[in-house]
């Protein structure tokens, strides 16, 4: 087990490096001279050259890449923002908690509410409760999340005036962003949860549990749900990645100064250090999430744990 975890963590590092390498190369190949963009149209040739030297853009691709990889992954330093001149890492650390908070809360909602809805639909299979849940789920999967976010703002903030429409003044500000980020995931999990519950509902060991005289509610909790959770857990990692990938849009809609919004700023200004820092953060976040889910899987399913243990011996 321990060896497996170490192996997975090493894999994770490789994946993050590759992500960093790809994004760096893409940013490097982007057309337009960053120095010219920064200085504006009326800059002279000499000031541009000076700026390029200052930013380290006069070095070769390989030198720049090596420098980036060394600073980012060894010293955890992404340099200074080209446009603002402040350390990117410092800014990132300020913004990180907001994005993480929204992402993790949305994910918790996804799993809890989505699974609950799935179980609810599956246990009422064929009845109106089932159809209603699934129709609503389908609607929310189909609706684009930014549109939903805007509708939420319109309804809850402008019409009802219950929640702030933008910014981060107090905990209430996070309600709408979390909700809008979570809804699609809840719907996906509800459908996934329903189908995996239905798979389990007819399993023989459920008949066994019934034959023991166990109450139906306990059967759902003790026997059906743990077995149905496996595919849901697999989906959690991907869902988390989805929420984070959607954060630039969500954070723009709600004007939240998070990592997603920072990434957008970086892209608009061709500010390479910002973009690289944000993308590396996304890669780390997603990899860690997927790793945790895989470990969760092993923790819950003794068969998978046994496989890992067997690998250790072999």
């Amino acid at each position: 087990m321990g060896k497996y975890v170490i192996q997975r963590v090493l894999q994770m590092f490789v994946i993050i490096w590759i992500a960093g390498f790809i994004v760096f190369t893409l940013m490097y190949m982007m057309p337009g001279d960053p120095a010219k963009i920064l200085l504006g149209n009326d800059a002279t040739e000499s000031t541009i050259l000076a700026k390029r030297a200052e930013l380290g853009l006069d070095a070769s691709y390989v030198e720049q890449l090596a420098s980036f990889m060394y600073h980012a992954f060894v010293r955890f330093d992404f340099g200074y923002s080209w446009s603002y001149g402040v350390p990117v890492m410092q800014e990132l650390l300020v913004r990180l908690p907001r994005t993480l908070f929204i992402g993790v809360s949305a994910m918790v909602l996804n799993v809890l509410l989505g699974t609950w809805l799935g179980v609810f639909a599956a246990t009422h299979r064929g009845k109106w409760q089932d159809s209603l849940t699934m129709v609503i789920a389908m609607v929310f999967i189909s609706v684009p999340d930014f549109w939903l976010a805007l509708m939420c703002v319109l309804f809850f903030s402008i019409n009802l005036g219950w929640l702030p429409a933008y910014g981060i003044d107090g905990p209430l500000s996070y309600v709408l962003p979390i909700l809008s980020s979570a809804v699609a995931g809840i719907a996906i999990n509800a459908r996934q949860g329903r189908s995996s519950m239905l798979e389990v509902i007819h399993a023989d060991f459920i008949s066994t549990a019934r034959a023991k005289g166990q109450k139906e509610s306990v059967i759902v909790r003790k026997h059906m749900l743990p077995n149905a959770m496996m595919p849901i857990i697999t989906g959690v990692g991907g869902g988390l990645a989805m929420v984070v990938a959607g954060s630039p849009i969500m954070e723009s809609v709600f004007s939240i100064p998070g990592v997603g919004a920072y990434l957008l700023v970086g892209i608009n200004l061709r500010d390479r250090p910002i973009v690289l820092a944000c993308v590396v953060f996304f890669a780390v976040f997603t990899s860690v999430a997927i790793l945790l889910m895989d470990l969760c899987y092993a923790f819950l399913d003794p068969r998978i744990k046994a496989q890992y243990a067997a690998k250790k011996v072999g």
Partner: protein, 352 residues
Amino acid sequence: MKSDTFPEAKTMKSDTFPEAKTMKHVAFLDVKNLEVIYTQNKRTVRAVNHVSFQLDRGQTLGLVGETGAGKTTIAKACMGILPTPPARILNGEIWLDAENILEIPKEKMLRIRGKKIAMVFQDPMTALNPLQTIGEQILEVIELHNAVSRHEGLKRAGQMLELVGIPAARHVEYPHQFSGGMKQRVVIAMALACDPELLLADEPTTALDVTIQAQVLELIKGLREKLNTAMILITHDLGVVAEICDKVAVIYAGQIIESGSKEDIFDRPAHPYTIGLFQSLPRLTAAEKWLKPIEGMPPDPTDLPDGCSFHPRCPYASKECALAEPDCIEIGTGHFCRCTKWMEVRTCQMHP
């Protein structure tokens, strides 16, 4: 030939005079005129049709028949765990110890299931929850029906495992760590954990290899003698029936087409289907090149043939067989047969 002796007629009488019930012998398990259908995609599967049988304590009834004949449905109905929908019990009564199981309220049934009636399921590979240790799973049924602490319960679970020949220390292991035969024994241990008075064993040996089969049968036999448990053994293995059953009911297309003591069925079979079943067994004494199967396929349960459901495959069938469903005829004491031609069939058997 007394045509008024088929079980349905008897039960009608006792229903109209309930006080008469206490007077005469009441079987421990008395299934009367059970009828179960499955509805799926607007198609109706007639899984169990007018099934009646009785069973006393300490007796073992073998339910024999082809796959899909409705054997498991009968057992699940007795247990009250038919999935509804799609299943629906149209008709019938299941009296256990003078209580109609079909009318017992749900909560009370929870206390009967697992305690008074227990069931061993067909496929040991899937009958256990893969995510729980077997100790937990045996403990579950013990805790449900006995006021014991967790510690005592686990001790009892360990004893049950020892009883079926598995070291008690292995109770912390998961189902995937056991072989098929051991899983089947775990399932049996679980079924027997609360000393059931009625044990429904659904093909308990089908998934096992022959040596383990013998062990499991031995085990079941021993427990039956010790606890005086009534047992229904569902199987399509006639050898197993010969070994442990007292009574046999042969099921075809959801109907008991012949029932009686083991000797009646094995030595004096009267229904063409039963005879066909025995003929399809290879004989060790004769040099046989080919097996003798019963020609044709079991009927489609969504569209049972008119009249006798076996007539399309029956070598003795005549026009009348397709017209009316044959009654259950008592052809010997306690030996019932649903075939109008049983005399002719028997004569043919004696003088081929």
